[in-house]
Symmetry: C2
Subunit: 207 residues, 2 copies
Amino acid sequence: MKNLPDKTVERLSQYRRSLNNQLTKGKTNIFSHELAHLLHITPVQVRRDIMLIGYSGTLRKGYDIKEMINLIGKIIDTDEGQRIAVIGMGNLGKAFIHYLHEKGSKLKIVASFDVNPDKTDKTYAGVHCYHFDRLAEIVKKEEINIGIITTPPEVVPQIADKLVEAGINGILNYTPKPLSVPDEVYLEEYDMITSLEKVAYFVKHRD
Amino acid sequence: MKNLPDKTVERLSQYRRSLNNQLTKGKTNIFSHELAHLLHITPVQVRRDIMLIGYSGTLRKGYDIKEMINLIGKIIDTDEGQRIAVIGMGNLGKAFIHYLHEKGSKLKIVASFDVNPDKTDKTYAGVHCYHFDRLAEIVKKEEINIGIITTPPEVVPQIADKLVEAGINGILNYTPKPLSVPDEVYLEEYDMITSLEKVAYFVKHRD
DNA sequence: TATTCCCTGTTAAAAATTTAACAATAATTC
DNA sequence: GAATTATTGTTAAATTTTTAACAGGGAATA
Ligand SMILES: NC(=O)c1ccc[n+]([C@@H]2O[C@H](COP(=O)([O-])OP(=O)(O)OC[C@H]3O[C@@H](n4cnc5c(N)ncnc54)[C@H](O)[C@@H]3O)[C@@H](O)[C@H]2O)c1
Ligand SMILES: NC(=O)c1ccc[n+]([C@@H]2O[C@H](COP(=O)([O-])OP(=O)(O)OC[C@H]3O[C@@H](n4cnc5c(N)ncnc54)[C@H](O)[C@@H]3O)[C@@H](O)[C@H]2O)c1
């Protein structure tokens, strides 16, 4: 697969989620406009994305849901699946672990880390929590390559450094502390306040 | 203020966060390239956004941090501030309430709702949790206009209906269940798995 | 006071993304 | 079986977003 547009990659993940959803409802085929409706986008965009990943539907039958799910998997999943660690087992860290636990995703959280002795050496939703001092050791042993940071903001830069040092390739930062990492590490940051303020802005400016 | 580009609105929120951060470090002025670095974007983009909101810096001094924070506030905050409710006081709901509590934001979570008697009629980080049956009543009384949904996915459509019925103007849906609402209600959806799969994809395809 | 330098503001160009338009064609209707 | 309808796939156009280019001007230097 050539280089897909960034936005298409994001949508593939959402398509799959919706498709799985429909599958459990007993649907086997879906039209571009149905899928579009579920994602609040246009049917053209759906068809275009599907074209870009090289899939074809059947005229008047739409797309085969199972086939599409498989194909999307081939594109966005890695063969071995990715192995993930969560750093900081507070409210947010726990929410994520429970969430991914109940999904049968290829993305597996295989370890978590904290410094608080109340949290360490316990297991949450099947994920063991190690002391952060053991990061390098466990990252290596468990072949972890993505880290999710959910610690207090103050300690985020140090944590990122340690993650990079330990050889991680991607970081998902959920704290409000902006981060800098070397170019070869893929960084994604999310702050709820941005989403919230966006909603607030458009609510305020709606016609 | 005319219609700002969508992306600019998103970045304003991030600018403000970083600017506040710098302010607490004692900085009073900031250059476009410094701000750009904090957000992993280009200085041109920063200058362009600032131009669009009609602010001007001083040559060789950069932008006045306090002034910018104020101006951004004028644009993205509403005068009275927005009043927000969280539906579903599980891990995620609690994480958000604690998070917004410690920020002195204009966005105030003023109520939460649940159906589980273990959760209702308690107060979390200063936010009271009501039974969901009282939604309409409390929304009205507290003048709530944004709802954040963090319940199990199954019940999300009903909850959204009730929120709309109660007169809410914006919904932030954190569950993996895609939602449909009338056009006049602004809807933002976020699913962690999308972020995670994006990271996974780009980690896999990095050069 | 002249010169150099740094940083802003803005217009123009480029790139990315979305939307439109429509041809092709299988299924359905008459 | 001809006409109509529904839906895909794709190319082209439009829009949005980002990046480049550079003029302007205050501060620093000399
Ligand atoms: N982006 C969002 O949408 C969003 C929403 C809510 C909270 N947050 C942020 O996410 C972070 C976590 O929020 P929370 O409510 O889960 O906080 P929390 O206090 O419940 O959890 C933080 C955890 O990190 C651990 N920790 C502290 N220092 C550590 C270290 N050096 N190494 C490893 N672990 C360490 C703590 O022991 C604690 O268990 C905060 O930074 C918060 O501001 C973000
Ligand atoms: N988008 C993300 O990034 C992300 C991350 C983690 C979890 N999630 C999702 O967020 C949701 C909440 O996750 P969680 O870990 O906090 O779950 P949780 O089970 O801890 O919390 C859900 C809460 O909702 C309450 N609830 C159930 N039915 C309700 C109803 N009809 N009205 C009001 N409240 C009701 C429950 O009593 C419970 O307190 C889930 O849908 C989960 O899949 C999303």
